[in-house]
């Protein structure tokens, strides 16, 4: 594992566990009189958002996709629900369009930058999945039996 990947992993794990602690601790959100199923769903959404935000912060703001992800999170948190799909690249058909939809901020990039950002995004996603899997294993093994 290269040094930067390891550093990224540590940074992300740190932030993610901090957010997880905040989500798990009983606060006003979880004690509302909602159905249990809805609470679980909402909690998983919060965890997913926290994971992506933690990864974006850990990766640093010199990447276009991290900036796009964090600005999307900020606008969503303010309950604007403003879809940040301002298309700089007029809706491209086919595979490139699909890739733009997957990578945050992809609709503004041209092809070369898109591929570069995709490479970095894939790396960070792999780290994210690895860490989250380890955390889930840790919790599920230590609590059961």
């Amino acid at each position: 594992m290269s040094a930067t990947t390891e550093q990224l992993e540590r940074n992300f794990t740190h932030r993610f566990l901090t957010s997880l602690r905040r989500i798990n601790s009983p606060d006003s959100k979880t004690t509302t009189t909602h159905a249990a199923g809805l609470v679980i769903r909402r909690r998983s959404l919060r965890i997913k958002r926290a994971a992506y935000s933690s990864m974006a912060r850990a990766a640093g703001s010199h990447r276009a996709w991290t900036r796009a992800l964090l600005s999307r999170a900020r606008s969503q948190r303010r309950r604007q629900q403003h879809d940040v799909h301002r298309r700089r690249q007029g809706r491209e058909m086919g595979r490139a369009g699909k890739l733009r939809g997957l990578v945050p901020g992809g609709s503004r990039m041209e092809m070369g930058q898109l591929l570069e950002e995709t490479a970095h995004y894939v790396q960070c996603l792999a780290v994210q999945v690895r860490v989250m899997q380890a955390v889930a294993d840790h919790f599920s093994s230590s609590s059961s039996m």
Partner: protein, 388 residues
């Protein structure tokens, strides 16, 4: 899935690199995360958090196949659901919009995960290769007086995308010079053979061979054009852009598994599928129990006390059943998660009776086996096989 990961996590916890006091400290940290009533705010920058990090990371590093568990998680329940009930409402699922696509993604990348996912090693090699390429281009531009070695190297760069063109180049240049080895020139070896061939290439270039590939790197004013191609700035810029894209595609090829496609379109498809697969894994993992049992349990008792559900003197098993039934009406996933948190699972009555009789035959008492029978729950699911 569960026993294996438990073993690995236990192995991580008992690793010789950690001392016992830090080990106990981490358990303390775990309890805090479990959402108990912690009196003091836990400082994340303290050393115990770092020890906790070490534990997580060591178990992460030492269990490369644990991510296969996530793939299993994706594959098995949804394969069962999709196969068993074709008219299953997606809203009840709540997980995926298209189940078959998710299953395809999972099965496609599963073997890669099981093999350890050495994406980091690939990235190292890719880094070195890209660095080599850049160094070569810079050195070639500085060394040679004309664009010939550059053209040779650029031919290799674009050769991976257009293999037909590439096969012509070794033929023409092999006739001209002698320092080329077409066998290793393709793909990753392009850097080294480019360096080896560049000193020997100045002579055929002097003889005016225009079999060289596309020209013009950054900072080179005079360009030697390919036969039958214009030298106007637009096409040069276009060529540059295409080469840049080809370079990026190659680096992506190293990251994405199953990337032996030479076709740009199928390579893009592979990349798209891989990104979708990773995002799917994040979604699934965010739904798993991440120490949040404390948040769910008080809510259960709240629900039971708030609505009059037929007496409070019921056994815990009936209460669980009713809770599960209620959860299943809203969201199947949350019901399964609730059961999983209790260490229970759902199975048809026939299987349950078979297991209980088999267990009762072997041992008189089996404390780990708690079977949910009776009530509406088992009756509803007696025909479908739904297992976590």
């Amino acid at each position: 899935m569960q026993p294996c990961s438990r073993e690995m996590a236990a192995g991580g916890l008992n690793s010789p690199t950690t001392t016992t006091p830090s080990h106990q400290f981490q358990l303390h940290d775990l309890h805090q995360i479990h959402g108990g009533h912690h009196t003091h705010h836990f400082d994340p920058s303290s050393a115990s958090a770092d020890d906790f990090l070490d534990q997580i990371l060591s178990s992460a590093a030492s269990s490369p196949w644990s991510s296969a568990a996530a793939a299993d998680l994706i594959k098995s329940p949804w394969a069962d659901l999709a196969a068993g009930d074709s008219t299953h409402d997606d809203n009840n699922n709540g997980f995926f919009n298209d189940d078959p696509a998710a299953i395809n993604l999972a099965s496609k990348f599963r073997h890669h995960q099981i093999n350890g996912g050495d994406t980091n090693n690939n990235h190292n090699n890719d880094n070195k290769m890209m660095l080599q390429q850049q160094l070569l281009m810079a050195s070639a531009a500085a060394a040679a007086g004309d664009g010939a070695p550059l053209s040779l190297f650029n031919g290799f760069g674009s050769g991976s995308i257009q293999p037909q063109q590439h096969f012509h180049h070794p033929a023409t240049q092999g006739a001209g010079g002698g320092a080329m080895q077409p066998g290793q020139s393709f793909g990753a070896g392009g850097g080294q053979s480019g360096a080896a061939a560049s000193p020997g290439k100045s002579q055929p270039q002097a003889s005016g061979s225009t079999g060289g590939a596309a020209t013009a790197s950054q900072g080179k004013p005079r360009v030697r054009a390919r036969r039958g191609q214009a030298t106007d700035p637009h096409s040069i810029a276009e060529r540059l852009r295409r080469e840049r894209i080809a370079e990026r595609m190659k680096s992506l090829q190293e990251l994405v598994p199953n990337a032996n496609k030479t076709d740009k379109a199928s390579m893009l498809d592979e990349i798209i599928d891989y990104v979708k697969f990773l995002q799917l894994q994040v979604k699934v993992l965010s739904m798993s129990r991440l120490g949040g049992a404390g948040a769910i349990a008080p809510l259960v008792t709240n629900d039971m006390s708030s609505e009059a559900n037929g007496g409070g003197s019921e056994s815990s098993m009936t209460m669980t059943e009713q809770q599960v039934a209620k959860l299943m009406e809203e969201d199947m996933g949350s019901a399964m998660q609730y059961l999983q948190g209790k260490g229970l699972c759902l199975m048809p009555i026939s299987l349950a009776t078979a297991i209980s009789t088999a267990t009762c035959r072997n041992q008189p008492s089996s404390p780990n086996l708690s079977v949910l029978t009776g009530g509406d729950v088992a009756v509803k699911d007696s025909t479908s096989a739904t297992k976590p």
